[in-house]
Amino acid sequence: MSGRVRRASERALARIESAFNAAFGNECNPVYHSGALTIYFFWIVLVSGIYVFIFFETSIFGAYASVERLTHDQWYLGGVMRSLHRYASDAAVITLLVHLGREFVKGRYRGARWFSWFTGVPLLWMVFPLGITGYWLVWDRLAQYIAIATSELLDRLPLFTEPMARNFLLPESLSDRFFTLMAFLHLLGIPIFLVFGIWFHLLRVSGPRVNPPRRLALGSLGALLLLSLLLPAESQGPADLTRVPQALGLDWFYLAIYPLYDLTSADFLWALLAGGSLLLALVPWLPPVKREPAAVVDLANCNGCGRCYADCPFGAVTLQPRTDGRRHPLQAVVDPDLCTACGICAGACPSATPFRSVAELVSGIDMPRLTVHRLREATAAALHRASGPLRVVVYGCAHGADLSALARPGVVTQTLPCIGNLPPSFIDYVLRRAGADGVLLTGCRLGDCYFRLGNEWVVRRLAGTREPHLRSTVDRRRLKVVWAAPVDSGRLVAALNEFLQQLARLEPQRDPVPPPARVAGEAAR
């Protein structure tokens, strides 16, 4: 996708998300939780499916009647469960497509994140057959239509000696054997693969969000329950192989490929599905991009405290037995294949404090592209050059609002890969040692961190609930945090102006305490 199209799509998506943020709040924004909602809907599908299965007759001659009995004789529970089963499956397709589209638009599939994207593609090949086989089991006119069309499609592949579609040629051709196979696939075969598929999909994500917030879960369930009561799912008359079903109520979420097949051909459809899947799977490498250098561990400064390990959103950091003979039992080890170069680990490292009196500030884990040393030097130099009545340092994230809109005398901006890359001690440092009057932090909107957890960790670090803390002695009036997406530049500018006015009302900062003489080669304790 070209840069212009991507930016336009990102802006459009951000505006949609803004509307949901306004109604639901960032913490319950359903767009942010689209992946977790998909899994949640499958839980509803599972529970309702188990109930429906209790009354379902796994036979082509009894299936339709058993579903009808469940739907009508037991409408208050069985009927609702059947409807929930269908509607939750459909809802899952919506959230799945939102999840996929959103990750694509936001570019969260490149570099080390290829794995989650790539393993998501086979999930599509499990979800849709799961839905199709479910419709098949009702054995009504819709089931008849999709059974024949699916058979015709499969017959195009060199799988079966005898055309599968001959099973549906005449009423006398029907047999339970084939139906039992469908039941097995729907009830056990595909769901097992789906569970393993989801596990693989989340394998390289640390602390994945697999459950939506309770309020969102209850609201979604309520909406589907209401729909089930107002518009119960019904069968479409018993299958009749002597006729072609007409005016079918097609589930467009799962069955849209069939009209396309009718319009084109089996060859076209298979080419489209195979080609589309291949293209989708290769998206992370189209075009190939140079990966940012991974985080680097400096054993002389790493005491194996495990904060980087705890904060890494992608499980790229592990703790392993010490290899350099120092007294600490563990050391951090970075797997470059998993590292997204977000720098959250460096922000978590206790040795990344700029107060250390060393000429070359080296932290236990750091980013080669922008080391904490270079960040300290760049901030100090920029503040030194800054003119104006007030001097403010803005630390921003590369994926949030554009900091160039904040340019004005006295305002120093530093762009980081992720705001979680900033060790909290830098705030203290620039206020006390570097002569800044205020610090403004900005990053992706809460709940929507490009690197998953960066802004969440920052909130906790500032609140003192997650290491490393921002010291309680830091004057909070001189610190402002604004979570802003690229489309929120105006809001960020307004927040900065407001912050400058607030700082102007405060008593002047004391003269900064000069940094102590720096000692080369100091090691972390």
Binding site: G25, A223, A247, L248
Partner: protein, 184 residues
């Protein structure tokens, strides 16, 4: 934002979501064929003629074989492709030479084709040649049928019933000879 406005926004979002799910789960309706159309399905599996003659084994040959393999006739496995064509209202709508299935080309050749036709009366004539190399094993059949909209007519081949069988309303019916079919 005001709490009530937020709640209103949430309720609207949930309702819109439910409406989208409910609507697209069964609407808009779809018709696989038009309201004035019917369907003809031609499908069967049939062994082509053997390529080569069977040979009777001599008593000496038989005695050398294990007892469970002493078949009197030794026949080549490979089958001939079959030729099939279907005429609908005097127009040839399908013609194909179908290969035998199996790696050794010793299985039946299969056909599965469907033809959407206007509802109404139709004349059908179907032909099968089970040996494309020699003029032998030819089967032909014809039928006339009145198809109502949405009805399916099936043409199958059942050797036990002497060849082609036409099914309408799920029941086999007798075809007609060419003269009867062409009349009227």
């Amino acid at each position: 934002m005001n709490t009530w406005l937020r709640r209103l926004g949430q309720a609207t979002a949930y309702l819109a979501f439910a409406a989208a799910v409910g609507w697209l789960s069964a609407r808009p309706a779809y018709a696989p064929i038009g309201p004035d159309q019917a369907l003809v399905r031609l499908s069967f599996g049939h062994y082509g003629a053997r390529l080569g003659e069977c040979r009777r084994r001599s008593a000496e040959e038989l005695s050398r074989l294990p007892p469970n393999m002493r078949a009197t006739l030794e026949c080549p496995r490979e089958r001939s492709p079959i030729r099939v064509h279907l005429e609908l209202d005097g127009r040839r709508v399908y013609e194909a030479v179908l290969d035998p299935s199996g790696l050794s080309r010793d299985g039946p050749a299969h056909v599965y084709e469907k033809f959407v036709v206007p509802a109404g009366e139709h004349r059908l004539r179907v032909f099968l040649d089970e040996d494309i190399h020699r003029p032998q094993g030819e089967y032909t059949a014809a039928a006339r049928a009145e198809l109502a909209p949405g009805e399916v007519l099936v043409i199958d081949f059942r050797p036990a019933r002497g060849g082609f069988v036409f099914y309408h309303h799920g029941k086999a019916f007798d075809g007609c000879n060419g003269t009867d079919c062409d009349r009227g």
